[in-house]
């Protein structure tokens, strides 16, 4: 017994020792390269070329080139990131939120001005992305990726003639085959583009119209999902969904039947951009990192890995990139004859005032909670609990009575 126990403890300690050794090793390694400092980068999950599947490891290459260590952590949504920053977590040096979140951060004074002298590679950013609405003076942000939402459908189950507009997602023929976003802004967005309402409206009436449209769609919808879209579309469990063009490209590799189009009524365009939050202790190192992300090697590797469109002209002109992506994919990611600035201004999500956000949230709840089911669940819960209480009281009374006799 004792032997086994000590073996147990030894195992435990051994693991620990090994881990410590491992961490020492890596520290020593970086020391050899003369550590200039460490920066904390906070990015979306799976949003950088990280060396997997033989790709180029951007963070490792940055550390090698500059001697700056990168602590890379990830988040799942803009709102997660915002909550983390707001909660008082300091120490992040580079963050990569989407446009509307940047606007919000900027309005709340949470971003640091960039020193563009340290970011000479900014000159490679295409003109279209200069002075966007969220950063009109172009002092705070450097665009990282952009993209558009479209509709993905399964050609073996959807008739070609039904495609072309948002109406496909409301088509009763495909009842039970449609996926909708499990995210209020994007879900309302699909209805609002379809109805021709501005997605940034502050008019309650218009939001209610969108809600009615979503409610009407609800019985056609198989489920409300986010990343499960990949799974369901690839396996053919669902036939229609709207998602980002770049992600469609990834899905199409696993299921050749999938096809994609941009709805004619217009669709969401987003830009994700790099910025430095207030409180960063290593601003110049962070700027060095941003500059590195714009260099040809890193930008091309990221564009190929993420599959989203890149605002970097070096990427667009790179022959390696053009060959890797192929003509079809490029056409899809970078649609021609599109006045980008105009489309972007019309269709991007803007930061909504807090009253509108609250309204959207409550409308979303209204849609998701089935009122009849809700009451039923409450009633049955109350029923079960009251039965339990009655039973408990009954047993107590019985026990007391019995104890009297004995």
């Amino acid at each position: 017994m004792k032997r086994i126990l000590s073996a147990f403890t030894a195992c435990f300690l051994l693991i620990f020792e090994l881990l410590l050794l491992a961490s020492c090793d890596s520290e020593q390694e970086t020391k050899k390269q003369q550590v200039k400092g460490t920066i904390n980068v906070y990015n979306w999950g799976e949003y950088i070329s990280d060396g997997s599947e033989g790709s180029f490891d951007v963070n490792a290459a940055f550390t090698e080139a500059t001697g700056i260590k990168v602590n890379y952590t990830t988040y799942a949504s803009n709102e997660d990131m915002y909550a983390k920053l707001k909660s008082g977590a300091t120490g992040y040096d580079v963050i990569i939120p989407s446009d509307y979140m940047i606007k919000r951060l900027l309005d709340e004074g949470m971003l640091e001005k960039l020193d563009f002298e340290n970011i000479p590679n900014y000159k490679y950013i295409s003109e279209d992305f200069h002075n966007p609405y969220y950063d009109p003076t172009n002092e705070y942000t450097v665009p990282y990726t952009y993209g558009m939402v479209g509709i993905i459908y399964n050609t073996s189950r959807v008739d070609e003639e039904d495609t072309g507009s948002w109406d496909l997602m409301w088509n009763e023929k495909y009842k039970g085959d449609i996926l909708q976003y499990n995210n209020s802004r994007d879900a309302f967005g699909t209805a609002m583009y379809r109805l021709g309402i501005s997605v940034n409206t502050e008019n309650e009436e218009e939001w209610r119209m969108a809600l009615d449209s979503l409610a009407e769609q609800k019985e056609l919808v198989q489920s409300y999902v986010m990343d499960e879209i990949f799974n369901k579309m690839e396996s053919g469990e669902a036939a229609i969904a709207s998602y980002y063009a770049g992600d469609y490209l990834v899905m199409s590799e696993n299921n050749e039947d999938l096809a994609f189009y941009y709805p004619e009524e217009g669709t969401n365009i987003f830009i994700d951009a790099m910025c430095i939050p207030k409180g960063s202790k290593n601003k110049s190192l962070a700027e060095e990192y941003i500059n590195f992300m714009l260099s040809a090697e890193a930008a091309i590797a990221n564009a190929e890995y993420i599959c989203y469109a890149s605002p970097n002209t070096l990427v667009r002109e790179s022959e390696e990139y053009i060959e890797y992506m192929g003509e079809d994919w490029l056409e899809l990611l970078y649609p021609e004859n599109m006045d980008f600035a105009k489309e972007y201004d019309k269709n991007c999500y803007k930061s909504l005032p807090s009253e509108t956000l609250a309204l959207v949230n409550s409308l979303w709840e209204e849609l998701k909670i089935d009122s009849t089911l809700g009451v039923g669940i409450y009633l049955s819960c109350i029923g079960i609990i009251s039965l339990l209480v009655v039973w408990a009281v009954y047993t107590i009374i019985i026990k007391k009575k019995r104890s009297k006799y004995y």
Partner: protein, 267 residues
């Protein structure tokens, strides 16, 4: 009736293990699809070995789990011994309930209140980093503690109170009596507590999510952050490996306790 009960058992096992079986199956998938199985390959295991960020997160998670479970075991055992020796029955009862509260408390409440505390203390002291590895460690030790106490306390109660007294009669100092007599006797409880703390700390998401600082990432948080795009299949490979490791650990601990019982019977 017998076949019915067998069928019922089989169903329960299918429900419990089907998801894990699917996970293991897809970790051997040849393509990166999570919906279609295209063929057998070991590429995701290879991929996992090359994925430095995931390995870093795994290392962080393990360091955190080992450290927090060790610290919680030491503090928890001391606390259990102290609680057991209390004279006042009411204080003792109150103390046991108090230590159990963090266990009953929903994780989200623990997480948010810990975060508030750390940020408050950090800003009052004017620290650079309000949340860091240390805060995460404190949080993990805190939620591990009740489990250790809960598994050690019954062992101490089972212990014959005269044993340490006998040891002291034979010339042990109280300290020596504790380490030579009491501790070995309650060791199974201590080990159980440690293993429980280890696994809890390993898969905690909610509390870590709120108390984690910049520049540090644990595995559950990394996996969660992948959900905007997709969870890559090398995570399945990793989960499979972790599942096997936990399985081995469980078998080991069951074998130990079975052997100990046999020995007891022989005596």
């Amino acid at each position: 009736m017998k076949t019915l009960s067998k069928l019922y058992t089989a169903l329960i096992f299918i429900f419990l293990y089907a998801p894990i079986a699917i996970l293991v199956l897809f970790s051997f998938n040849a393509s990166n699809s999570t919906g279609v199985f295209t063929g057998f390959s070991l590429q995701w295991y290879k991929e996992l070995m090359r994925d430095s960020a995931t390995l870093e997160a795994l290392k962080n998670t393990l360091i955190l789990a080992v450290l927090s479970s060790l610290i919680a075991t030491v503090i928890g055992t001391m606390a259990a011994v102290g609680i057991d020796r209390m004279k006042n029955r009411y204080v003792k009862g109150a103390l046991i309930s108090t230590t159990n509260i963090p266990m009953m408390n929903p994780d989200i409440v623990t997480g948010i209140s810990m975060m508030l505390l750390f940020v408050f203390v950090g800003t009052t002291l004017g620290l650079d980093n309000n949340l860091s590895f240390v805060t995460l460690l404190i949080a993990h030790v805190t939620f591990n503690l009740p489990y250790v106490i809960l598994s050690v306390l019954p062992k101490i109660r089972q212990l014959d109170a005269q044993l340490p007294e006998a040891a002291m009669d034979l010339g042990c100092t109280p300290m020596k009596a504790f380490f030579k007599v009491e501790l070995p006797a309650i060791m199974p409880g201590v080990i159980t507590g440690m293993i429980m703390a280890f696994t809890l700390s390993l898969d905690d998401f909610i509390i870590s999510y709120f108390t984690i600082g910049s520049g540090f990432e644990t595995l559950p948080i990394r996996i969660y952050s992948m959900t905007k795009k997709r969870v890559t299949p090398d995570m399945y490979a990793l989960s499979t490996l972790i599942f096997i490791a936990i399985l081995l650990l469980l078998i080991l601990s069951n074998v130990t306790s079975a052997r100990a019982e046999k020995k007891m019977k022989k005596k």
